[in-house]
């Protein structure tokens, strides 16, 4: 993989210490995931130059932005970033259009020569241009803030829990825009969140942080299928597959999705054949059989190989499997594991009960 962002930061804040050395890809969404206090926001602020780390090295697209050894530190306004805060932070004295043009003026671009119209359309804010920020809803404000950052064509988009301050309804209002952004933009996005739903929907690359350190970093599937992480311990553990819609069986209210040659049946999706979809499969929805289960209500039965297993404290076992080329997690009881005598390298059949579609 081509790593366009190399970031190494170390700083101390009283009892908290951030010590991170990361290489992130030059496209797609890298989600920084971790509990509060894990240092993910501090890391993002270091990338933006809003925080100055004692030890800091940052290369973005071949350009050195920061190097504490030589004393190089570009201040935030000289870094080609877009930054989305938890709160939209629109300028209250400017209307929406004034806010959108604030950065453009400073990079010496006329609105007509910029991506302004495209961004206004993409974020659906065309009807708000004359409004003052005080008269916008939380979701509208955040959409304006995203457009305001993107019109500058930044080298990197930094998003610090952009949905955290919104209620569920507003979150669902914005998520489709983020998904769209994900599909239409080719700039790298660093996205900080502690919400699994956002990881599942948006991440291409996943970095798990805890107490100021990187626990894991890699592609989404790679990181999710690691059994040694605390994230593998809970009932929410799931795998994400990406695929395309292969066919609809409208008489059964079903859609068949093709994920790297593996076909999954799932509840009808309202989208054209060939559209890309993300499928989330909870480990607790995956069961194991040693022989082909001929008589079962479950539609998705596949051949798989066990590549790893880990027992947890609650009498459960998490299995890591390979279905063709795709990784899959299954959460079964310790008792089942012993009864079936499961071990690494064994071939089994997996049955997937429910799946949820993410986009």
């Amino acid at each position: 993989m081509n790593y366009a962002i190399a970031a190494r930061f170390a700083l101390d804040y009283g009892a908290f210490r951030l010590d991170v050395d990361l290489h992130l890809p030059g496209s797609g969404v890298s989600v920084l995931f971790g509990p509060s206090g894990s240092g993910k926001t501090t890391f993002l602020r270091c990338v933006a130059g809003l925080e100055r780390a004692a030890i800091g090295h940052l290369m973005v697209n071949g350009k050195q932005w920061e190097d504490s050894e030589s004393g190089l530190f570009l201040p935030p306004h000289r870094r080609a970033i877009g930054y989305i805060f938890q709160q939209a932070n629109l300028f209250p004295h400017l209307n929406v259009y004034g806010n959108l043009c604030f950065g453009l003026k400073r990079i010496g671009k006329k609105p007509a020569d910029s991506d302004l119209d495209r961004m206004i359309k993409m974020l659906g804010i065309g009807h708000l241009l004359d409004r003052m920020p005080a008269r916008l809803s939380g979701g509208e404000r955040q959409r304006v803030a995203i457009a305001r950052a993107l019109v500058l064509n930044p080298d990197i988009l930094l998003m610090d829990e952009p949905l955290a301050a919104l209620d569920d309804q507003r979150k669902h209002e914005i998520l489709p825009y983020l998904t769209r952004l994900h599909q239409e933009l080719d700039i790298p996005v660093l996205y900080v969140t502690h919400a699994r739903q956002e990881v599942a929907k948006l991440a291409d690359h996943l970095v798990i942080l805890n107490e100021g350190r990187v626990l894991a970093a890699g592609t989404l599937a790679e990181t999710l299928s690691r059994l040694d992480l605390p994230t593998a311990e809970d009932n929410q553990v799931a795998m994400i597959w990406e695929g395309r819609i292969a066919a609809h069986e409208s008489e059964y209210h079903l859609t068949r999705v093709d994920c790297a040659g593996i076909e999954l049946s799932m509840p009808l999706i309202d989208a054209a054949i060939g559209s890309p979809v993300r499928v989330q499969i909870y480990a607790s929805d995956v069961s194991i059989a040693l022989a082909v289960p001929n008589t079962t209500s479950i539609l998705n039965v596949m051949f798989a190989t066990i590549t790893g297993l880990a027992d947890n404290q609650k009498g459960q076992t998490v299995l890591r499997l390979k279905v063709g080329a795709l990784p899959l997690l299954a959460l079964i009881t310790l008792k089942s594991k012993l009864m079936l005598n499961l071990a690494i390298g064994m071939s089994v059949y997996v049955q997937i009960k429910g799946t949820s579609i993410l986009n």
Binding site: P76, Y83, F85, H93
Partner: protein, 228 residues
């Protein structure tokens, strides 16, 4: 109605107040900005020094200024050595004294206005390519506009209303340091109550109008508490 002396006193008052307000805004803005954002341990001391004129009898301030700026004082002596005239009993001395005396009336509203602008708004400006000076002029000043307006009005009005400091440092020199408030005192001393009425009434109307503008005209903005 108004004698020539009265008119000259009013004109002088206007000049002192305008010039003082201008200087106050120039000195007060960076001072208030620093006070609003610093975490320095000197902040408490600086806040106290700025607020002192609110509680100090004007004669105390005037007395120390006289000692400090007089030809035998440390500052005055230095000025004499440089070949400059010492400041007491001059127009410049009046302005210097007014600036110190009205400082809290300018710094405090500005400080409140600056403090109300969140750090995050400034960070947003920085991530949108605005450097610190750029952000100060295009974000901070427009957002603090009601604070500037309050500061300018209070600074001007308070300078117009001063008496004790002026008398101590400026004296009572017609056309040079004799401002309206001193002129009223002169009229009363001379038992010219009729003349005193006109000037005093004029200042009363002025003060009332200014405060009415402040509280009425700015009512859509967060209220600024009067000092005193």
């Amino acid at each position: 109605m108004f004698s020539d002396d009265d008119i000259s006193a009013c004109w002088l008052t206007f000049q002192v107040a305008s010039l003082s307000t201008l200087i106050l805004l120039m000195v007060g803005t960076p001072l208030a900005w620093w006070l609003a954002r610093t975490e320095s341990r000197w902040k408490g001391i600086c806040n106290t020094v700025v607020a002192l004129p609110l509680v100090l009898p004007p004669t105390v301030l005037g007395f120390y200024l006289l000692v400090l700026l007089g030809p035998n004082g440390p500052v005055g002596g230095f000025m004499v050595k440089l070949g400059l005239n010492p400041l007491p009993f001059t127009f410049s001395g009046l302005v210097v004294a007014s600036v110190l005396y009205s400082l809290p009336f300018v710094v405090q509203p500005l400080q409140t206005a600056f403090a109300a602008i969140g750090e995050q708004t400034l960070e947003a400006a920085a991530t949108l390519r605005a450097g610190p000076w750029d952000a100060f002029f295009t974000v901070v000043i427009p957002l603090a506009r009601p604070g500037f307006l309050t500061a300018a009005i209070l600074g001007f009005a308070h300078t117009v209303g001063e008496f004790g400091v002026v008398l101590m440092i400026g004296g009572n020199i017609p056309g040079k340091t004799r401002v309206a408030s001193v002129q009223i005192y002169n009229h009363v001393e001379a038992l010219e109550y009729h003349q005193a009425h006109w000037l005093a009434g004029g200042l009363l109307v002025f003060a009332f109008t200014v405060l009415l503008v402040l509280y009425g005209g700015l009512k859509s903005r967060p209220a600024v508490e009067p000092m005193r």
